[in-house]
Amino acid sequence: MNNNRLRSIYSIPYTAWILLFVLAPIALIVYYSFFDLTGNFTLSNYRNFFSSVYLTLTISSFWYAFLITFFSLLIAYPTAYLLTKTKHKHLWLLLIIIPSWINLLLKTYAFIGLMGLYGPLNAFLETIGIGKQQILFTDFSFVFVSVYIFIPFMILPIFNALDKLNPTLIDASRDLGANSWTTFRRVIWPLTINGVKSGIQVVFIPALSLFMITRLIAGNKVITLGTAIEQQFLVTQNWGMGSTIAVFLIVFMFIIMLVTNGKEKGASGNGTNR
């Protein structure tokens, strides 16, 4: 009885938070998405979304988010693996995390200088004989800077999963005659898949709606759903259409969460799978 009351008191901050800062804003966005410019109830925003402009926009957002996630994972997994093998692993991890404390915009501006025609990157290319290249405002610069920004968020969950991995399982796998590739494929990867999944979640979802980098680094040659939302709210002042795009973004996020959370086999890290 007493315990119950205590529990309901404890749940107040959580419930209030969820109601005020999660459910209410989502409800408001959905509500606004049903109104046109003049404030009349309409479904035209949704019809509009299925026009070719926004569909292409969605596909291109997904493509770039995929590229960013893929390269982040490609770099983060071996890095995290290496970190768990080092002596002062938490120190090394901290060094990777620290840059993420610096303001995103500042880092982005730094890249404008680094990648400029007279920046150090081009100076390097010139000394090794390749010559000046237009690096800024290309697909490469966009994916590169985004990967740089998201990498700490990918490394962290993978590091935790690898760190919890019981090393005796790897020894056992070796003893039973598996080579290193088989050990990785059949033991290490399945046991750390949950870390990878949460890494993908925290990278892919924000990458879908990146918007400042699309302008500063890609010169608007890459357009994401985030850019479209920003424009609808700030320039066109069409809150209805902006909200509609946001609704679709939320739906996409839920789908990604479902896909990456689904079908977990057993618990992670304690060796109960298989």
Partner: protein
């Protein structure tokens, strides 16, 4: 656990001290009887003049800045701060007066209005200047750096399409400016409401894609100064900033015509010190003050008497003070309404996606 509590207390303590200092700093700057709150674009006034105004009138100036018309309007719409003066662009004056956010100006308190060139008064966006007085004006044109180009000149907008400019041109991340440029290049009005003409403009803009280096905002100034970019679509004042830092850069308004814009003093509904607001506007229209301000800011002043006091070399520069013949080719943006603004933006989005 204990260390967590300790650091939490430390953070709270620091935040508290910062809040206290902030409150202390803001003390006395609250808008009231003896103060006037000015809401202006960044880097858009000579700070010495604010001091001079404070000394002459005893009214304290609280100065805040914004970076977009839309952001400014939404802040005024919400109330919050009682701004006494703001400086919207012409289409925004129209929008704000439609939304009933402005107070009419009392000209008996502004004798200095006589110095303003009549050419810039009584324009379509505010007939009879009921709500607004022009502060600065300018055009949209092409800033370019001849040292980075092979003799390319820009008499016509079509010169931007020249094959030699591959990956060289920077456009403005604004639908009205960039779509307007394409409309102008086809000989249409940049206030076109004809969907056929707009479609034609976007199709033409898409053929510019191979030449486009980027579509960005104010960052372009730095890129041009650092010789990173050779050609850009810019406002005249922004070009003046570039030319001030990099002497190689030149600016031109192509023959087919372009945009003529105004930033204007208005007194929003939020004003508390209406008399002070009038005094401030009147002060800024004083020829000597206006001349000093124009010299500092670098944009073109509509103040006829101030022009006599300025460096003749600046005033006779056709690039920034085009004659009436050239000006007759220029058009002021009309407020097209939100629906058409949406169409412009959607078409612009279509162009941006087509760029790769």
């Amino acid at each position: 656990m204990k260390s967590i509590i300790n650091s939490a207390i430390l953070i709270l303590l620091i935040s508290g001290i910062l809040l206290f200092i902030n409150a202390k700093l803001n003390e006395g700057s609250k808008s009231g009887k003896g103060t006037v709150t000015v809401y202006n674009w960044g880097e858009y006034i000579d700070p010495d003049l604010i001091e001079q105004f404070e000394e002459e009138t005893g009214i304290k100036v609280v100065y805040e800045t914004f970076d977009s018309n839309e952001a400014m309007m939404s802040k005024i719409e919400q109330g919050g701060t009682s701004y006494d003066i703001s400086v919207p662009s012409e289409y925004m004056v129209e929008m704000m007066s439609e939304k009933d956010l402005l107070l009419p100006i009392d000209y008996s308190q502004i004798p200095n209005i006589e110095h303003i060139d009549p050419y810039f008064l009584d324009l379509a966006f505010d007939p009879g200047n009921q709500y607004s007085i022009p502060y600065f004006w300018g055009t949209v044109g092409i800033a370019f750096n001849p040292t980075l180009l092979e003799g390319q000149t820009f008499e016509s907008w079509d010169d931007l399409w020249d094959p030699s400019l591959k990956q060289q041109v920077i456009l403005v991340d604004g639908a009205r400016e960039t779509v307007g440029m394409a409309l102008n290049s086809l000989g249409h009005s940049l206030n076109s409401t004809d969907l056929g003409e707009l479609r034609e403009a976007i199709d033409k803009l898409k053929t510019l894609s191979p030449n486009v280096k980027a579509v960005i905002g104010d960052e372009v100034t730095q890129l041009m100064i650092n010789n990173e970019a050779a050609v850009s679509l810019t406002w005249s004042g922004q070009a003046a900033d570039m030319m001030y830092e990099n002497e190689d850069i030149d600016f031109v308004v192509p023959n087919e015509g372009s945009n003529l814009w105004f930033d204007n003093f208005v007194i929003p509904k939020t004003a508390k010190n209406i008399e002070g607001a009038h005094a401030f506007i009147n002060f800024m229209l004083d020829p000597e003050v206006a001349a000093q301000n124009a010299d500092y800011v670098g944009y073109s002043t509509p103040n006829l008497s101030a022009l006599d006091l300025m460096d003749p070399e600046v005033v006779e520069d056709e690039r920034f003070y085009p004659d009436e013949e050239t000006r007759s080719h220029l058009e002021v943006y009309k407020n097209l309404g939100l629906e058409l603004l949406g169409v412009y933006n959607e078409l612009f989005l279509e162009f941006k996606m087509d760029m790769r």
